[in-house]
C-alpha cells in the first residue's frame, strides 16, 4: 500500500504569495495513498529537509512529492535527502508550483487550484515510481584534446601533469594556433611568442602527451569514459621521427618564398616544403602537395625536382606517404578548436551572413584584418615587425582602425559582441605609435568594452599617453583615392559625440572582424553530439554553473570554440576543462542517471525508426540468438552508456516497445488521467 508524503514549499513568498499553501496541503491530504501532507517556508533549507527525512523515517513513506520550484533547481537536493533518510532517491518527484504556477498567475484562487492539480499529477506519478540504481560504466584513463592553440595546449598540459595520458590532435602542421601568430598581448604588452613557445615546446616533450599534428578527428564512437576515436593523419611526406629539422630541404626548395604562407595570412611566403614559422612544434617540415613539383609530376608518372629528398641527410622525405587512420581509446574529450575571423569581404560562404562590400576588403591591398595586422606588426612576421603596408611596402603614417566589423551588425547577420576587439585595437594603436612616432592612429568604435583587470586603464593609456584618436561611430565606406600622387584610403566616418561626419585619409585600414568559430567545427560537433548555436559556437551545459561541460557526457569545451574570449579567459577555461576531465578520469568507474530508454525486445520489430531518430547514436539493431546460435529475431537495443534519456525513440516507436525508465508511458498516462478526474 502506497504511503506518499507531500511537502509543499512556500519558497519564502515566491509561492505563498499566490498559492494558498494551507489549502493545498489540506486538499492533497485527501488524495488516496497520501500519508502526510504539510507545508513549510523553505523546504530546501536544513529544517525543511530534516522535516522530510523525519517523516520518511517516522511514517515509512514509500514515495515523496516536493511541491516547490523547478526540478532543475533542487531535484538533486531532495534526492539526497531521501537517500539519507533511507529510501531510494528515485522515489521522489517534484511538482513545479513556482515557475509553472505562482510566478505566472496573478489570481490566487486559480493558482491554488492549479497547484493542487500539479501536485495531484506528481502523486500519481510517484505512486508508479520504481527504485532505480545508477548505471556504472568503466573509464579509460586517457584524454583527447582537439586543437592545439593556447586552449588545447593548456588543457593538455594540465591533464598530462595530472598524471593522465593525453592525445593532442592539431590539424595544422604545428601547434600554437592563432596565438603563435600574434604580436604582443594586452594588457601587459608581453610578446606572444615569448610566453607561448615554451608551452609549445613543453607539449612536444611531455612524457604523457602524444602529439598528433597535421591530423583531424575522423570518427567518434563509444560513450563517456569509453570513446573510440579515429584520427586521420594527413600525408606529411616527411617522417618526423627521422627528420632532425635541419632546414636543408626547405632552404633548397626551388619554390622557396614563392608560395603564400597561410600562417602569415598570405602576407609572407614559404616554399613547397616548409615549416610554417621558425618556432613551430614539431620543428619538422611538411610538403604542400598542391605546390610541390615532384608530387605534381608524380601524378603524370614523372619524377621531377626532388631536390629536398636529395639534400636530406636522414632520408626523412617520403614522396609516397599516404594518410593514415589511427584509433585511440579515451575516456574524456576536450574540444579546443578556437576561432577564425569573419571573412569581411563581399562574398560569404554562409548565406546567412553578409560581407562588407563598402570597406573594400579583399579589393584594396592595404585594407587588412586585425590578424593580418598582428603579423605586420609582429617581430616574427613577414616584415620583421616593421610596419609596412602590403601594397607598396611604405611605412603607413595614418592608420584607421575600425571596430565592430561584423560584430553587432544585425544587417550582416552577426548580433553578438566579439569581446576582444576593443582591447586588441587599443593594443594595435599603441604598437603602431611605438613604431611610428609621428603617425596617427584613428579608431572608430561603437562602445569601448574593456572590462577586466587593468583593461580599461590600458585603453585609456592608448588614448591619453599614446594619443590614439578615438571617434565614436561607424565608418560608412572606404574609397581608394590618390592624394598628391599617394594612394590613400578615404574613410567616411562619424563622430557621434560631436554629431558631425568625420573623413580620414588613411595609408592603411585595419578591420577588427568578428570572431567566428573555426571552420569545420559544426561537423566535429555532430561527431561528438555536442550542441552549437546558430553561428557554430559550441554549447556549454549551463551558461553559469557548467561552463566547460557539454550536454554530451564526457565532452568538455574550452577557448573560443565556445564563444569569443581573450587569452587569460581561454587559459582559465582550459584549466577548468582539464580539471573537470581529471575529476572524471580519476573515478574508478562512472555513474550515470538511470533514466534512460529501454526496448521491449519481445515487441520490437527492428524497424530502425528509433535508430534513425536517436540524436546520440545510442541505439543499434542487434540479433537475438538462442544458445545454439540459431537466429531468432532482430531487435533494437539501447547502449546505456550513450543514452541521454531524451525520449525521442519513445515518441517515434510504432510498436510502443520503447519506453523511458522513470518516465514510462504508464506514469505519464496516469498523470494525465489524474488531471482528467478534475474536469
Amino acid at each position: 500500500m502506497a504511503k506518499i508524503g507531500v511537502f509543499t514549499c512556500w519558497c519564502g513568498e515566491n509561492i505563498a504569495r499566490n498559492v494558498d499553501v494551507d489549502k493545498v496541503s489540506e486538499a492533497i491530504a485527501k488524495l488516496p495513498g497520501v500519508g502526510c501532507s504539510m507545508n513549510y517556508k523553505y523546504m530546501c533549507s536544513e529544517p525543511g529537509q530534516s522535516l522530510i527525512a523525519t517523516k520518511i523515517r517516522e511514517l515509512g513513506l514509500t514515495g515523496v512529492v516536493v511541491a516547490s520550484c523547478s526540478p532543475h533547481m533542487h531535484l538533486k537536493t531532495f534526492r539526497k535527502t531521501c537517500e539519507l533518510a533511507g529510501i531510494n532517491p528515485y522515489l521522489i518527484e517534484m511538482a513545479n508550483i513556482r515557475e509553472q504556477c505562482s510566478w505566472v498567475h496573478s489570481d490566487k484562487e486559480v493558482a491554488t487550484a492549479k497547484a493542487i492539480e500539479l501536485i495531484g499529477m506528481a502523486v500519481e506519478k510517484v505512486r508508479r515510481n520504481h527504485a532505480l540504481q545508477p548505471i556504472r560504466v568503466p573509464v579509460t584513463k586517457r584524454a583527447l584534446v582537439i586543437g592545439a592553440g593556447v586552449a588545447g595546449i593548456q588543457a593538455a598540459l594540465d591533464v598530462a601533469s595530472g598524471g593522465v595520458e593525453v592525445v593532442l590532435v592539431e590539424r595544422e602542421p604545428s601547434v600554437g594556433g592563432k596565438m603563435a601568430g600574434l604580436s604582443e598581448t594586452f594588457p601587459t604588452l608581453d610578446c606572444s611568442q615569448c610566453i607561448l613557445t615554451p608551452r609549445m615546446v613543453e607539449v612536444g616533450q611531455h612524457p604523457n602527451i602524444k602529439l598528433m599534428t597535421y591530423s583531424e578527428v575522423e570518427k567518434v564512437d563509444g560513450y563517456v569514459g569509453n570513446f573510440k576515436v579515429t584520427i586521420r593523419q594527413k600525408a606529411r611526406y616527411v617522417d618526423i621521427a627521422k627528420c632532425t629539422g635541419c632546414g636543408s630541404c626547405w632552404n633548397a626548395c626551388p619554390k622557396k618564398n614563392k608560395i603564400p604562407n597561410s600562417f602569415d595570412y598570405n602576407l609572407g611566403n614559404r616554399g613547397a616544403i616548409y615549416i610554417p614559422f621558425p618556432q613551430a612544434v614539431p620543428a619538422r617540415p611538411t610538403i604542400d602537395p598542391d605546390n610541390c613539383m615532384r608530387l605534381q609530376s608524380m601524378k603524370n608518372g614523372k619524377e621531377l625536382c626532388g631536390i629536398c629528398a636529395k639534400k636530406c641527410q636522414t632520408n626523412a622525405i617520403n614522396f609516397h606517404d599516404e594518410e593514415k587512420f589511427v584509433e585511440v581509446e579515451v575516456g574524456a574529450i576536450i574540444v579546443a578548436t578556437g576561432y577564425q575571423l569573419y571573412s569581411i569581404k563581399k562574398e560569404q560562404e554562409n548565406p546567412r551572413i553578409k560581407g562588407y562590400a563598402e570597406y573594400g576588403y579583399g579589393k584594396y591591398p592595404d585594407v587588412v584584418d586585425s590578424l593580418q595586422f598582428e603579423r605586420i606588426i609582429s617581430a616574427s612576421g613577414p616584415t620583421g615587425g616593421e610596419p609596412k603596408r602590403p601594397s607598396d611596402g611604405k611605412t603607413p603614417k595614418s592608420v584607421v582602425f575600425i571596430q565592430c566589423v561584423g560584430s553587432r551588425d544585425n544587417a550582416k547577420g552577426i548580433t553578438y559582441c566579439s569581446k576582444i576587439c576593443c582591447m586588441y585595437t587599443a593594443k594595435h594603436t599603441m604598437l603602431f605609435k611605438h613604431k611610428v612616432h609621428d603617425g596617427t592612429a584613428s579608431v572608430f568604435y561603437m562602445d569601448i568594452r574593456s572590462g577586466g583587470k587593468m583593461y580599461d586603464e590600458f585603453v585609456r593609456r592608448a588614448i591619453e599617453q599614446d594619443g590614439a584618436k578615438y571617434y565614436r561611430g561607424r565608418v560608412s565606406k572606404i574609397e581608394q583615392v590618390m592624394v598628391d600622387g599617394e594612394r590613400k584610403y578615404r574613410c567616411y566616418g562619424a563622430d557621434t559625440l560631436k554629431g558631425t561626419p568625420v573623413v580620414v585619409d588613411a595609408d592603411m585600414v585595419v578591420l577588427a572582424g568578428a570572431i567566428m568559430p573555426s571552420s569545420g567545427v559544426t561537423q566535429l560537433a555532430q561527431k561528438l553530439s555536442v550542441g552549437y548555436n546558430e553561428y557554430g559556437f559550441l554549447s556549454e551545459s549551463h551558461p553559469k554553473l557548467r561552463p566547460v561541460e557539454t550536454n554530451a557526457a564526457g565532452v568538455f569545451v574550452c577557448g573560443a570554440c565556445q564563444g569569443p574570449k581573450d587569452i587569460p579567459e581561454t587559459v582559465a577555461q582550459a584549466s577548468a576543462a582539464a580539471g573537470k576531465a581529471l575529476i572524471m578520469l580519476s573515478q574508478p568507474e562512472l555513474t550515470r542517471e538511470p533514466e534512460i530508454a529501454t526496448i521491449d525486445e519481445k515487441l520490437c520489430a527492428a524497424c530502425g525508426a528509433c535508430v534513425k531518430a536517436c540524436p546520440y547514436q545510442a541505439i543499434s539493431i542487434e540479433e537475438i540468438r538462442d544458445r545454439k546460435g540459431n537466429f531468432i529475431k532482430k531487435t533494437s537495443r539501447v547502449n546505456p552508456g550513450l543514452c541521454m534519456g531524451c525520449g525521442t525513440c519513445v515518441a517515434v516507436c510504432p510498436s510502443k516497445s520503447a519506453d523511458l525508465i522513470g518516465f514510462t508511458d504508464d506514469q505519464v498516462y496516469a498523470q494525465i488521467e489524474s488531471l482528467a478526474d478534475v474536469f
Partner: protein, 188 residues
Amino acid sequence: MSKPVQDWSARVEELSGAKLNDCYQCGKCTAGCPRAEVMDVPPTRIMRSAQTGDVLEVAKARSIWQCLSCQTCTARCPKNVEVAGVVDALRQISIETNTFSDESLKVVSFQKAFLRSVRRNGRTNETEMATDFEARYFFRRFDVANVVRVGLLGPKMIARGKMHFKLGSPVKDKALVKRIFDKCGVEL
C-alpha cells in the same frame, strides 16, 4: 575635404593646462553646468571639439561667453580635466581669431571694457567702464536706439545711487597690476 586642419588642440592645452585626451566624454560637466540649458554647444561637446582640434567651430559658439566660470565642471570632473580652463582658452582663441559671433559681440565688448578698466585703475571704475563699453559697442553697431536707451538709464541709476560720478582712487601698486596683465599677454 582632406585639407589639413590646423591642430588647435595643442594651443588649447597650452593655454588651459588641460589634458584634452583625458576626457572620456561622460557628460558630467554638462550635467552640472548651471548654464547648459541655454547653451548652444554644451560643455561636453566643447571638450570633444577641443579633443578633435575643431576648435574654431566652438569658438563661434555663444556658450563659451555664456559660461559663468563657476568651475563646477572642473571641480566635479572624474578625470580631473580643467574644463573651465578650456572654455577660457577658447574665449581667448575666439578673440585672437576674431571668430566670435555677432550675438556675442556685446559680451566680448563688455569683458574687454572690464579688463581695460582694471588694467588702468587696478580695479573697476563703473562710470568709466560703462562709457567705454557703450561707446565701443556703438562704434561697432551704430545702434542709435541703444545709445538713447542706455543714455536715459544713466541718470536713473545715478539718482538711485547705483552709479557714481566719483572716479575713485586707483590701487597703490599699479606696477603689480601691469605685471599681471603683461604676464597674461592678452591684447585688449
